[in-house]
Amino acid sequence: MREHTLQRDLNLLPASARERVLRAQEVSRSCRTALALTVIAATAAAASEAGRLQAMEACDAAERQAESALARDEHRRRLEAEVRHLAEAAVELQRSESQLPLSSILGAITDALPLGASLERVRLVPDGAGDWICELSGNAERAPLSHFLDVLAQTRPFERVVINDYVQASERFQATFAIPNDRPYSVVQGDADVNADSPSHSEIEDLINRGGHHE
C-alpha cells in the first residue's frame, strides 16, 4: 500500500515523544506476546485436560468392561465348577449304582427269608443323606419274620433293620434297612460271602419286579 509521495517522509516528532511511542509499542508488543502465550498455554491446558478426561473415561470404560468380563468369567467358572461337580456327582452316582452289589444284597435277603414267607417287593431308594434304604414288603408269620430281621441285622453292612408295619391278619409286613454308600463294602452274612457270582443288577430288578418268590 505504501507509495512514497515525497522524497522523504518528513517527521517532526520530537525525540522524547518518539521514545515514549517506541516504549509504548514495546509494552504493547510484550503484552500481546504474553496474551498470546497465555492463550496458547490455556488452550494447551484445556486440550490436555480434555485429553486426560477422555483417557480417564476410556480407562473407566475399559475397567468396567474388564470387571464385566471378570464377572462373566467368574460366573462361567462357577457354572463350570457346578457343572463339573454335578457331572462328577452323576458319574459318582452312576459309579455307585454300578458298584452297588444288588445281587449280593438280594441274595442275602432271599437267603435269610424263612420258609413259608414270601417277598412281594424289594426296592432301593436313596435316603437323601447319601445312604440307600432297602424297603421290603411281603408275607410272613410273626416269629419267622423276627428271625428274618435278626439275620438281616447281622448281615454286614446292613444297618438300622426295622419293621415298619405288620398286619397280623394277613401276615403282611413292611421292613427297611439301610445300606451305607460312603465306603466300599461287600455283603457278608455271617462268615459267608454272598457276593460271588451274583446275577446282574438288571436281572435282579427284573426278577423283583416280576414278583419273584423265594420259597
Binding site: T5, Q7, D9, L12, P14
Partner: protein, 347 residues
C-alpha cells in the same frame, strides 16, 4: 466507559479490515480526523471533526486536545497509530539552497539558517526538518526546511500518548497535501505530469510544484492575498532552476478551495485551469462517507459536522496524513538516521 471504547477499538483493529494510521490535521480552527482502509484508500473507516481554539499557538491547542481525544476514543477508529499535521501557523517553511552533502550536514545547515531567521513561529526550542527538493548544480541542492516549536508539538502529541495513541509522525500540512494530491493522480499516465498544488489556509498558503510523486519546489506565502503571486513565482522559479515542464493544472486544498473569485485570480495569474475532483473521484466519494461518519460522531455537540467544516478539499490534508504508512522500522530510522532517501519515482 473509556476502557470499553478502548477495547472496542482494539477488537475492531484485530478482527476488522486492516486500517492505516489515523490522520489528524489542524486546519483553520478544526481538527479533522480520518482513517481509511489500508488496501482501499477511498474506503473511509472512521472520521470526526472537532473545533479547536486558535487564539494562541501553544497553550490553547493543549486545552483543545481533550475533545480531540474524546472524538478519537468515541469514534469508530481502529488501532493506535496516528499521524499529526501541525497547524499552518505552527510550522514555518522556507526554501533555500544549501551545499550538497549528507543529511546530517544539511540538517546542520538548515538549523543554522533557520535559527537566525524571523517568522511567526517561536523557535526558542525548535524542531527542524527538511525535504530535499533537487540538485541545482555547483554542488548545491535546494531544500524545503521546516521548523516548528517543540513545546507546541509535545503539547499535541503528549495527550495523545497519554490516552494510549501512538503519534508515529508529525508533519507540516504541505507534505500531507502533496501526498494527497499525488494520490489523486496516481494513474501511471499521470506519473510524469507536472501540476501546481496550493495548500490554502486562513493565515497563508504554501504553493507546491509537483512532478508525479515528487515535490519539485515549495513556496510559502504568509498572506492569502499573495497566493496567486506565490504560485506564479513557483512556476517561474521551478522552470528556471530545475528546467521542468510547465504545469498543466492547479489543485487547491483548503476550506476556500471552492471560492470562485480566488479560482479566477489563480487562473489569471498562472494561466492554468483550477481542477477539482469529480463526483466519482477518490476524495469526492470518500467525502460523502465522511459526512455520514463525522455527523454520526457529532452527538456530543463539541463535534462539528463535516459539511460545515469545508468541503472535500478541506479534508485532503487529513487524507494525506492518513495515507502515510509509517512502519515501526521507519519510526526507528527516522529517529536515528536522518538520511533522506532521494526518490525520484516519477522519473
Amino acid at each position: 466507559m473509556r476502557h470499553a471504547q478502548w477495547f472496542a477499538s482494539r477488537f475492531r483493529q484485530a478482527f476488522g479490515p486492516k486500517a492505516g494510521p489515523i490522520g489528524l490535521e489542524f486546519r483553520d480552527g478544526f481538527v479533522r480526523m480520518v482513517q481509511v482502509a489500508r488496501d482501499r484508500r477511498a474506503d473511509v473507516l472512521a472520521a470526526a471533526c472537532v473545533a479547536y481554539d486558535r487564539r494562541g499557538p501553544g497553550l490553547s491547542i493543549a486545552h483543545s486536545m481533550e475533545p480531540v481525544v474524546h472524538a478519537l476514543l468515541g469514534g469508530s477508529f481502529r488501532g493506535r497509530a496516528c499521524v499529526v499535521v501541525l497547524p499552518f501557523e505552527a510550522a514555518r517553511v522556507e526554501t533555500f539552497t544549501v551545499p550538497e552533502g549528507d543529511d546530517a550536514a544539511i540538517q546542520a545547515d538548515v538549523a543554522r539558517t533557520l535559527a537566525h531567521g524571523h517568522g511567526s513561529v517561536e523557535t526558542r526550542d525548535p524542531e527542524f526538518g527538511f525535504v530535499r527538493l533537487g540538485p541545482v548544480g555547483h554542488a548545491r541542492c535546494e531544500v524545503a526546511a521546516v521548523v516548528a516549536d517543540r513545546r507546541l508539538i509535545e503539547s499535541i502529541v503528549n495527550p495523545l500518548i497519554d490516552s494510549g495513541f501512538w503519534p508515529t509522525a508529525v508533519e507540516p500540512s504541505f507534505t500531507a497535501v502533496a501526498r494527497a494530491c499525488c494520490r489523486t493522480h496516481r494513474r501511471a499516465a499521470d506519473r510524469g505530469r507536472v501540476r501546481l498544488a496550493v495548500d490554502l489556509h486562513e493565515g497563508g498558503a504554501t504553493a507546491l510544484l509537483l512532478q508525479g510523486q515528487t515535490i519539485v519546489y515549495a513556496s510559502s506565502a504568509s498572506s492569502r492575498s499573495r497566493v496567486p503571486d506565490a504560485l506564479g513565482a513557483c512556476c517561474t522559479e521551478a522552470r528556471r532552476v530545475f528546467g521542468t515542464e510547465p504545469p498543466t493544472e492547479v489543485r487547491i486544498v483548503g476550506s476556500r478551495a471552492y471560492d470562485v473569485d480566488l479560482q479566477h485570480q489563480i487562473e489569471r495569474s498562472c494561466g492554468l485551469p483550477v481542477l477539482h475532483d469529480d463526483d466519482a473521484g477518490t476524495f469526492a466519494s470518500a467525502f460523502a462517507e465522511i459526512g455520514v461518519r463525522a455527523i454520526d460522531s457529532a452527538a456530543s455537540g463539541q463535534h462539528a459536522a463535516a459539511t460545515d467544516s469545508g468541503g472535500a478539499a478541506a479534508w485532503m490534508g487529513a487524507f494525506g496524513a492518513a495515507f502515510r504508512g509509517l512502519s515501526r522500522a521507519e519510526l526507528r530510522q527516522s529517529g536515528t538516521d536522518q538520511r533522506p532517501a532521494h526518490r525520484r519515482e516519477a522519473a
